[in-house]
Symmetry: C2
Subunit: 336 residues, 2 copies
């Protein structure tokens, strides 16, 4: 039997808290043996949800936290002042090694700040990146960094490349993952100052499979497994992905509903279409990990449902079992 992985779940974070969050936690402990979940939040509300389910009581423990960090609160203030919030209480459990990982659907800003301030960085990691998976024609690619560190420096991007490679190889199971730097042309001389300075460092970086630049157009085609970028650019990619997909699918839907003929056609294509669009979705892999910390912080989206919470919890188990942090400590180049 493997070691039990202890996962904190922020029961109060996100639009569907605590109902969907608690449900996801129950589903996770039903699916996985070597796990203990700590549901952190308002005891009464969490218990009221838990009572709806049958599960192994030893695998879920409720930890009371009186306060809730709201989505719109300034992150630094929230982390500093709301010491009794579910997020702060939960992150402090990682800090004090009472748990291995935390999953939250709450404020991204507060999660990033709390991750750095409370959970803390692995020694030598300069900037912990937020690294979601995006769907591609071929599967998924890791976009690293997507929002944690704007105006990053070349040495940060080199660490992102290394951390991302370890993650994709061990969590997603891509052998020798192709690493590319997000750029505005395929040639080495293209790009802004940051890319031009980073490119030669990546070429020389040992232990990664660097394939050069990737243009944004090639990301959905699966042109690289690990896409290294500064957070401003990465965040734009992540959000535009959502925006274009949503708009285009609503246009398709509008077309399907525009005549009687097309409505009949829509009924016929629905199951097949649902199936292929399901393959263009990264949510089965869980949430976006904030990497390079003493523990793991998973940010799942604000509108997360039970299935997303469950997948994020299981992602924490794989992360711990694969000893990703041990591998990061072993392999990362630290600037002297």
């Amino acid at each position: 039997m493997s070691e039990t992985v202890r996962v904190v779940v922020d029961a109060m974070g996100g639009d569907n808290a605590p109902g969907e969050i608690v449900k996801g936690a129950v589903e996770a402990v039903q699916a996985e043996n070597d796990i203990k979940v700590f549901l952190v939040g308002r005891q009464d509300a969490v218990n009221a949800e838990l009572e709806k389910y049958t599960y192994d009581k030893e695998k879920i423990e409720v930890v009371h936290a009186e306060e809730v960090i709201e989505m719109a609160e300034p992150p630094v203030n929230a982390i500093r002042k709301k010491k009794q919030s579910s997020l702060v209480v939960g992150m402090n459990m990682i800090k004090h090694q009472e748990a291995d990982a935390i999953v939250t659907a709450g404020s991204t800003g507060a999660t990033l700040v709390g991750g750095q301030v409370l959970v803390g960085r692995i020694k030598g990691i300069e900037r912990p990146p937020l690294a979601p998976l995006v769907p591609t024609e071929k599967g998924v690619s890791l976009l690293i960094d997507c929002g944690a560190n704007v105006d990053a420096r070349p040495s940060h991007l080199v660490q992102f490349a290394q951390i991302g490679s370890i993650y994709m190889e061990n969590i997603v199971g891509i052998k020798n993952p192709r690493v590319a730097i997000l750029n505005i042309g395929a040639e080495e001389e293209k790009g802004n100052q940051l890319v031009k300075e980073t490119f030669p460092l990546l070429k020389e970086c040992p232990g990664i499979n660097f394939i050069g630049s990737i243009e944004a157009r090639e990301i959905p085609h699966g042109g690289a497994d690990v896409i290294v970028c500064e957070a401003f650019a990465g965040n734009i990619v992540l959000k535009l992905y959502e925006g274009v997909a949503a708009t285009l699918l609503s246009k398709v839907k509008e077309g399907l509903m525009s005549s009687l003929r097309s409505k009949i056609g829509a009924l016929l294509i629905k199951p097949a279409l649902k199936q292929t669009l399901k393959s263009f979705d990264a949510s089965q892999y869980g949430g976006a990990p904030l990497l390079g910390l003493n523990g793991l912080v998973i940010k799942t989206h604000g509108s997360a449902k039970a299935i997303d919470v469950k997948n994020s919890i299981l992602q924490c188990v794989t992360f711990k079992q694969q000893d990703i942090n041990g591998k990061i400590k072993e392999h990362i180049i630290v600037e002297k």
Copy 2:
């Protein structure tokens, strides 16, 4: 009768040159009266194409240019060394005021370099931006800058906002266009250094309707009419738009073809779907203008067909008739 607008067309640029380019020129002179087109390229090849059509001979003149700039050539070298190329000969005609505008489907890099070096900037314009329109749920939005100036400064972005407003109001016909800065959050304190420095300047900038930050997610929803950004970010937006749309539509197609049932459905929905997807397309507005020059340079995509060339030529006519450059000279804030 209005003044005749003189448009140079690079007959040798793009994947479909000279056939589609010449065809587009013929269609443009058939559609518009106050126009004279100069087809610049290899005389024999261009004339051979022209012979296929019936058109007013006074409206099209062939200008011989022996050389062709290839897509992969280093732009600066190409412009400097290939003095007899269609692009250089054509741009020199703008420089010498023998024409008002140029349309090319050739190398973007060479077009940007040639625009700055040969056509030249309007006095006071620091960096001429490349400004394509992208389709949205509601119509189109102008993305300015999309590839001309990486690592731009705040004062450049302020000029982009002003130039973009003039363009959208007078060419696309959007009254008092909403200007937003591309950012990674809606709040004023969000963003990288460039955005934080530019934001207050845009707030104070007279003559524009600044509505604050726009997240990439909101671009396809039509959240702003003019989206101000530095070229690295803008280029990512432009190319990811294409990439996500292409991948998603190929997924939809895959779904439609996956069973007999879905294939029958596909036949029924095809006309309606084609219609709505057509509305998510900006090509009817022509190509991407490089703005702020002494004349107009339009870059249409490398795989441009006759219809794209025609629309780009007509765009030049509107640009001249609306006296966009006169308005730019009048309104742009020039840093002392």
